[in-house]
Each structure stands twice: as structure tokens, then as C-alpha cells.
Symmetry: C2
Subunit: 75 residues, 2 copies
């Protein structure tokens, strides 16, 4: 799953990366930093896996006030 700062939310880490890339001579209009969380979960099927990961996001992995998340189920 991917967790990103919501649009409009300040992202100081992304701003620092953007500034550093420009100082290195790269042409960058914007940089935003989020997290990728790779989880290996036990679930009977894809539907249950997605429901479980959604609950994990709400309870621990993302802050819904300032972050959005995206779940991708594989394997």
C-alpha cells in the first residue's frame, strides 16, 4: 500500500528533496514524499485481504486527516 500526503498538506520532506534536486541541477517542478508499506497478510481471499489492509490503514498505517492511501493486492 502507498500512503501519501494529501493535496494541500505541507510536505517538508518533499520540499527538501525538491530543493536538493534543483541544487544538483535537475529540472524538477514538484516532489512529494510518502511511504510504501509491503505487507504479507494471511487472508482467505483478495476481498478479505483488502478489507483487512483497509482496517490496518485506518487504525495504524495512515493518518486520514492528512494522508491518503492506495491499496494494491498481489499474489
Amino acid at each position: 500500500m502507498l500512503v501519501r500526503p494529501k493535496v494541500g498538506i505541507l510536505d517538508p520532506q518533499g520540499q527538501a528533496v525538491e530543493d536538493s534536486l534543483r541544487q544538483l541541477g535537475f529540472s524538477v517542478a514538484d516532489a512529494r514524499i510518502g511511504r510504501v508499506v509491503d505487507l504479507d497478510v494471511d487472508a482467505v481471499d483478495v476481498v478479505q485481504a483488502r478489507a483487512d489492509v483497509e482496517r490496518m490503514c485506518e487504525q495504524l498505517l495512515a493518518n486520514p486527516l492528512i494522508e491518503s492511501y492506495e491499496i494494491e493486492i498481489t499474489g
Copy 2:
């Protein structure tokens, strides 16, 4: 682009998330944490964009000793 700790490299952040998820009652076999970096770059085409982002990864965004990265170009 996605930056992840390489296989075999300790990931204390992932370990902490794994422990916390188990304490919340979730059945998780493994959790690994990396970064997602969304970049808006100026490039003439997809080939140049990918080459630029690869150089950004090598120079700033990833530590090739302990991290692997994956580049996806959109737009």
C-alpha cells in the same frame, strides 16, 4: 518512484509496524517500509525522464548499498 530496503537489510520501521499490527490483532507475516517519491520533472520524452530520475536516485533519492528502487513514468 519506489525505494525499498533490500532483501536481507534490517528494517526496524517495518518490524515496529509488524509488531504493532499483531498487537492490534491482525495476522501479518511480514511488513517492510519504504518511500514513494512522486516527482514532476521536465523532460523531452519518457526515455529522458527515466534517465534523469535514475540519476536522481543514484545521487540523492536512494542509497544503493541498502535500498533498491523502481521507477514508473506516467503522463
